[in-house]
């Protein structure tokens, strides 16, 4: 099962390597990982998307907590969290397809951030499923380059995690 885990860590060198090393050393999967400092500059926030059964997810969570630099581990599942991901997509756009690319970008509330006579580069944000959907439509038109941030997640409701 797919899980989105948020990890608050000390903003120090080597922390990313400790977390990444934990996943590779114990054979856990990482589908995506994004990391940046929080409002409190001494704390960084990682969002990790991983897969595994209940026992593996329990181990991942415990093992992350065991790392000395990890302050908090939150496992977001189901509807408790909102996930957003950004993708920058460079698409072939010539003759007939130029208009089609624009229409698709518009439907997904994407922005054109770079234009050439032969291509458009689209910025689009949304839940991972939405990114998948626009990619599916653009792929037949000629996808030249794709970069995704991987999702970041935040819990629903008024309560906030410090940092």
């Amino acid at each position: 099962m797919r899980h989105t885990i948020t990890v608050l860590v000390e903003n120090e060198f080597g922390v990313l390597s400790r977390v990444a090393g934990l996943f590779s050393g114990r054979g856990f999967n990482i589908d995506s990982l994004s990391v940046a400092p929080t409002n409190d500059e001494s704390i960084s926030r990682m969002t990790i998307v991983t897969r595994g059964d209940e026992q593996i997810l329990e181990q991942i969570s415990k093992q992350l907590n065991k790392l000395i630099d990890v302050i908090k581990v939150i496992d977001f599942t189901g509807g408790e969290a909102i996930e957003r991901e950004m993708a920058l997509i460079k698409v072939t756009a010539e003759d007939a397809s130029r208009a089609e690319v624009l229409r698709i970008a518009d439907i997904f509330r994407g922005k054109i951030i770079d234009v050439t006579p032969k291509s458009y580069t689209i910025e689009v944000t949304g839940a991972p499923a939405k990114i998948e959907a626009i990619l599916e439509l653009l792929r037949p038109l000629g996808l030249k380059e794709l970069v995704r941030t991987g999702p970041v997640a935040i819990g629903r409701g008024a309560k906030g995690w410090k940092g």
Binding site: V9, E10, F13, G14, S17, R18, G21, G25, Q55, E58, Q59, K62, Q63, N65, K66, I68, D69, V70, I71
Partner: protein, 566 residues
């Protein structure tokens, strides 16, 4: 007053109560050694290899319960510590290892004797640090000791660049340290303890399974009291040996791959298993699917990751084993009649176990002309002091020691359980002897493992450390040979150590003494002579070459599928 970083390091060690360090000088730690030259409060032992230095600090830590300290220079000095660090990590031994590093300006430049030791040791330390500023030394050393000794203990590496050692600053040592990201659970949850005791008292066939956590958590007394109160048998892992007296009728000895028939049968047939400070290692469980198949499992451990890592657990209790066991004892006492009924109810189970003990005791066939290794171990027990400390290498002799020595006190067996590091025994014994100059310390080695760190004979002689070294010599890498015999059609690939080394002359070359026994009737006399001779002594026993460690659960088999006679 301003001090150099090197001096601050030594002041910190002193304030942490460190009286001995095991270290090896070199270019990037020369400033530390220069300060050490006039720093009389810290005793320094110079091993002949950094790996042995870390094993010695580890042996010191295992024997005393205190944090062991080792120092090595950058580059090869640092990489040589890795096996020692990994050994301590797998067995949860508190160490602080200090490595020199090239000056901060050169880090990353492939400088002479530069290696990214923080990167290399990340997966085999509890935590590690690179100090980039002299003002950080005091806080980081405080953190290092705190992390090493609290929660589930483990090794911490501190990498200290040369320019940071030379820089000066005011020295203030923090009295206490708090880490927002590290707060080990100390106390077991009272509700969980209550539930555990209720569950326990419903059992008819209980077993307590104990690991090294009871020793590192100083909980042997609590364990003994609880086992006695519940009239419940106790089996230990290799790391747990000594936590429960093996001469107690409730003791089942070792379980697992080379465990006793009755311990393995008891675990397979029990209806309730209380695991305490143990982590269900594959050498203990055998095939997971058939491990304790009828049992509810209660698991007590200070490390939450140990729980449900390998086996399902019905009732976890996270906390220090000493706290949890004493709470369990108290909760049991509060049960009054119910606890008494439980005690009586266990009777038939104990009788069943007694039957297994009688059917297949731990034994061997004595021979008239060749020395049986098990006989040597029994004689060593008989002739050594009751509080003697035994360190082993890894292999057959280690298992024979575990099976035949009869350990009764915590911290009397020092053995590399998790990593299984050959060459551990001699330096670990050395560290224990440094900690306890007046106690009898015996290193039990095979001829293979001994040769991995035999250079430490020099350290023993130089520091007048009277370690008695017992070499069970079969001219084989015996454990691998045993596997080759049983599972590889006797194809003894590279396990025969053909060269007959003269260990007596070797001892003499280092200025130690050596004795040899080749026949059973020489064993006792050789041991006595070794124990009576001052200083380090090698006693070499030419043992039956193809003797096997039995019983044996083949790798991946169930605990009740033991090979008893092969």
């Amino acid at each position: 007053m301003k001090m150099t970083g090197a001096r601050i390091l030594l002041e910190c060690l002193k304030l942490e109560g460190v009286d001995t360090v095991f270290g090896y000088p070199g270019g990037t730690v020369i400033n530390i050694y220069d300060e050490l030259f006039s720093f009389k409060e810290i005793h320094h032992i110079l091993p002949r290899h950094e790996q042995a230095g870390v094993h010695a600090a580890d042996g010191y830590a295992r024997a005393t319960g205190r944090v062991g300290v080792a120092i090595a220079t950058s580059g090869p000095g640092a990489t040589n510590t890795v096996t020692g660090i990994a050994t301590a990590y797998m067995d949860s031994i508190p160490l602080v290892v200090i490595t020199g590093q090239v000056p901060t300006a050169l880090i990353g430049n492939d400088a002479f004797q530069e290696v990214d030791i923080v990167g290399i040791t990340r997966p085999c330390t509890k935590h590690n640090f690179l100090i980039k500023d002299v003002r950080e030394i005091a806080t980081i050393i405080k953190k290092a000791f705190y992390i090493a000794r609290t929660g589930r203990p483990g090794p911490v590496l501190v990498d200290l660049p040369k320019d940071v050692q030379i820089a000066t600053t005011e020295f203030h040592y923090p009295e206490a340290i708090e880490l927002r990201s590290y707060k080990p659970t100390v106390e077991g949850h009272p509700k969980q303890v209550e539930k555990a005791v209720s569950l326990l008292l419903t059992a008819k066939k209980p077993v307590i399974y104990v690991g090294g956590g009871v020793i590192s958590g100083d909980a042997a007394e609590e364990l003994r009291a609880l086992a006695a109160k519940l009239n419940t048998p106790v089996t230990t892992t290799l790391m747990g040996l000594g936590s429960f007296p093996e001469d107690d009728p409730l003791s089942l000895g070792l379980l697992g791959m080379h465990g006793t028939y009755y311990a393995n049968m008891a675990v397979t047939n029990c209806d309730l298993l209380v695991a305490v400070g143990a982590r269900f290692d594959d050498r203990v469980t055998g095939k997971i699917a058939t491990f304790a198949p009828h049992a509810k499992i209660i698991h007590v451990d200070v490390d939450p990751t140990s729980i449900r890592k390998n086996v399902r657990v019905d009732l976890p209790i996270v906390g220090e084993v000493k706290d949890v066991l004493s709470k369990m004892l108290k909760a049991t006492e509060e049960q009054g009649d119910k606890a008494d009924d439980f005690r009586k109810g266990v009777g038939p189970w104990l009788a069943e176990i007694a039957g297994w003990k009688e059917k297949h005791p731990i034994t061997y066939k004595q021979a008239s002309t060749t020395i049986k290794p098990q006989f040597v171990i029994q004689k060593l027990r008989e002739l050594s002091a009751p509080d003697a400390i035994v360190a082993t290498d890894v292999g057959q002799h280690q298992m024979w020691t575990a099976q035949f020595f009869t350990f009764t006190k915590p911290r009397t067996l020092l053995s590399s359980g998790g990593l299984g590091t050959m060459g551990f025994g001699l330096p670990a014994a050395m560290g224990a002897q440094v900690a306890f100059p007046g106690r009898q310390v015996v290193a039990i080695c095979g001829d293979g493992g001994f040769q991995m760190n035999m250079q430490e004979l020099a350290t023993l002689v130089q520091n007048r450390l009277p370690v008695k070294i017992c070499i069970l010599n079969n001219n084989f890498l015996g454990m691998v040979r045993q596997w080759q015999e049983l599972f590889f059609d006797k194809r003894y690939s590279q396990t025969c150590m053909e060269l007959p080394i003269d260990f007596i002359k070797l001892a003499e070359a280092f200025g130690a003494k050596g004795f040899q026994a080749t026949k059973p009737d020489e064993v006792e006399e050789t041991i006595k002579k070794a124990f009576e001779t001052p200083g380090p002594v090698i006693m070499e026993f030419k043992i039956a070459r193809e003797e096997k460690v039995l019983p044996m659960v083949p790798a991946g088999a169930s605990l009740n599928e033991m090979v008893l006679n092969a």
